[in-house]
């Protein structure tokens, strides 16, 4: 089969995307497919139109490739593609939108407030920040709404750290959310089709929990898969993850990041197109489920071509 692997793009996660794509391309070739590698740039549409692939494997992370933009183009061109559809991608990429959807669907997610820059610049939103302490408490987490990785995510231990954290978060997006800090174990559940894979736990090796570097560096964060959870905990985490996956309309594959608190799981976000590098969580979870990387890639392709097969 002729498969176009879409990678790179202009997002800050370009480097991760290139590494994900390199792994996917290898696997596809081993599976006997014809691979057309496309670095998503100005020539994207022209290249796809010229190559006429039977399916596109979208191995892009961050805005552009993971937010529905590339998916929309592929729909227009009539090329089936891997991973979630346009609307699901758009919902996952925008954390504020995603959290609204999750709350409406009854999926537990930490309380939050969202602000855009205009609110501060023109509407005096700073005066509303006083409510934060009462409504969310400290510490809280300040995040750019759109941004696939931990870039721009800061903790504010007290009031006085909020403005600086906001300035950082607004460097990545014009909308940010301030979220109640959920304390607990950091876990992730990848879903392929409608099947949840074993829970992975990330145990940070010291330093910030939200350390972008640690996520991509062997040895900085320890991953345990399957996570050491009792049956009840694993069940609760998995059902919350599946509920989130469904609430956001995901299909194909995605990864749900959660915190397992003393009061049960809280969904932080859903990554529409999670990393597929050597140190990424999805491939590790698949392996724990007895799926080789090739099996995983083949399954993802199959789901792209026959969504009903889920």
């Amino acid at each position: 089969m002729k498969v176009a692997v879409l990678k790179g793009g202009r997002s800050l996660e370009r480097g991760v995307s290139l590494r994900s794509a390199a792994r996917v391309e290898d696997a596809l070739e081993r599976l006997g497919h014809e691979v057309v590698s496309i670095d998503a740039g100005g020539e994207l549409v022209k290249r796809i139109a010229a190559e006429r692939p039977e399916v596109a494997f979208v191995a892009m992370h961050g805005p552009g490739g993971e937010d529905g933009t590339v998916q929309e183009l592929l729909e227009i061109l009539g090329v089936p593609f891997t991973g979630p559809g346009v609307a699901a991608c758009a919902r996952c990429m925008d954390k504020v939108l995603a959290k609204h959807e999750l709350r409406d669907a009854g999926v537990p997610t930490p309380d939050w407030f969202a602000f855009n820059e205009t609110a501060f610049r023109e509407l005096g939103a700073a005066d509303a920040l006083g409510e934060l302490e009462e409504r969310l408490g400290f510490p809280l987490v300040v995040k750019p709404s759109r941004g696939g990785s931990a870039l721009g995510v800061k903790f504010a231990a007290s009031w006085f750290e909020v403005p600086e954290a906001l300035v950082s978060a607004f460097s990545y997006d014009d909308r940010v959310l301030l979220e109640r800090f959920a304390e607990g174990r950091e876990v992730a559940v990848s879903v392929v089709g409608s099947e949840p894979l074993p829970v992975v736990e990330a145990i940070p090796g010291g330093g910030d929990r939200y350390d972008f570097e640690a996520r991509y560096e062997i040895g900085r964060t320890e991953f345990v898969c399957p996570a050491e959870l009792d049956e009840e905990e694993a069940g609760a985490v998995t059902s919350a993850a599946l509920a989130a996956y469904e609430a956001l309309g995901c299909s194909g594959f995605s990864r749900v990041d959660l915190i397992l608190t003393a009061d049960g799981p809280q969904v932080l976000e859903v990554n529409a197109i999670p990393g597929l590098t050597d140190t990424s969580l999805l491939p590790q979870a698949a392996e724990a489920a007895g799926m080789s990387f090739e099996d995983l890639v083949e399954r993802i392709l199959e789901l792209a071509l026959k969504p009903a097969a889920a």
């Binding site: 800050l12 290898d26 610049r121 403005p163 570097e213 080789s292």
Partner: protein, 480 residues
Amino acid sequence: MEETPHRRRAHTRTRDLERYAGLFAARTGVMRSSAMRDLMAITARPEVISLAGGLPDTSTFPAATFAAQMTRIAQESTAEALQYGPTEGFAETVDCIVEVMGAEGMLPDPDDVIVTTGGQQAIDLICKTLVDPGDVVICEAPTYPGAVPVFCSYQAETIQIDCDAEGMRVDELEAVLARLDGEGRRPKFVYSVPSFQNPAGVTMSLERRRRLVELARQREMLVVEDNPYGLLRFGGEPLPPLYQLDGGDFVIYVGTFSKILSPGIRLGWAVAPPPVMEKVVLGKQASDLCTSTLTQHFVREYFGEGRWREYIADLVEIYRARRDTMLAALREHFPAQATWTEPEGGLFIWATLPEYIDTSDLLAKALREDVAFVPGQAAYVDESRGRHSMRLNFSGVGEEEIREGIRRIGKAVAEQVELYDALTGEHHLAEDSPGMPGREAEDMPVDVKAKPSSGPGHDLIPPGPDEGAVLPFRKKENTA
């Protein structure tokens, strides 16, 4: 060229990861990498104006000269230029090095010189020779970003001494040395880029140079002087290198052809007293046997022509104009609260922003505007430092791009300042007047967040403009 068939590696499985991780040396745990590298990879996009590199301008090197010299090497020295060479380097290369050092008033003994694969290898070999895990190495704050991973990979305990407009605060160094004395420890060496420092752009004053060399003699302490830019002076009076002041007893010298000829030839050198040199040579043998003989031949040919000083003079003219352009652009586009250094040579300006701006985050914003710089944290071993500063390079791109690049960064900074003001109700604009001469000298590369490990020494924390500056958010009274 026909594509060579190659094997493609299977996906690394979790078990493999664990297996390798179990084999890694302890030093890999402290090696730096990753997120920054990912961000820097984006800066390589062709549409990005990169003020992030440290690249000299090689576009003006005469192509005809290059062609003629390489041809002569091919015709007259084929066998030798393609063969291994001595670990120390060819005597002819050392002659060129002696000539270059002589241009700055130094008179090294040719036997003390080793030709290395760039100045970077010289730093690596010196660490390899001197540093055991846990040993103390002292350098400037900020320091050359390329030295940080070297110190880390030899597991040195690195202490950084603040700089001001006159370079390393040697008084602060003395305080640190006294503290170490109290702990019964002594540093293996003090690493310094005294002239047109990378990244700060500052130059150590003559008085401090003398004091540093004096300290080295009194304490029988080694100083590693890294001097890649000494000949790239645009103004002011030349100052004697530490090596010249010391005579080569306690100062180990690192030089390079990268900034005065070409970084692509990967030729640098170290000058050290014979006992140290002996070990450095052994280290070099273990690393790569010898430096490229082909490029050593090129340097020999190039110096044989006798026009190397003219080429440097040309570079100096180009860089001076670019520095002036960048300084003018900074005055025009950076907000009043920003400060920056005014280098008299070299390749870099160091700019410091208000303490609520994190330059790594700013880089993400700047990249959306297709412009890049190096966030200040790269110049610190403790990555929580340098967060509000950035290194700007003016040698690698033309004047038009410098103007536009600084305009774009300035716009991104202005937006953050405006946002912060909206968040806190503060108005900084009246605090400082733009372009006030000398203001950059005061709190330039000073980082108010000294490492907690610097101990009780309040003297290590230079007096900031405001004692409360450590707090990122100073509106406590008004908002509580």
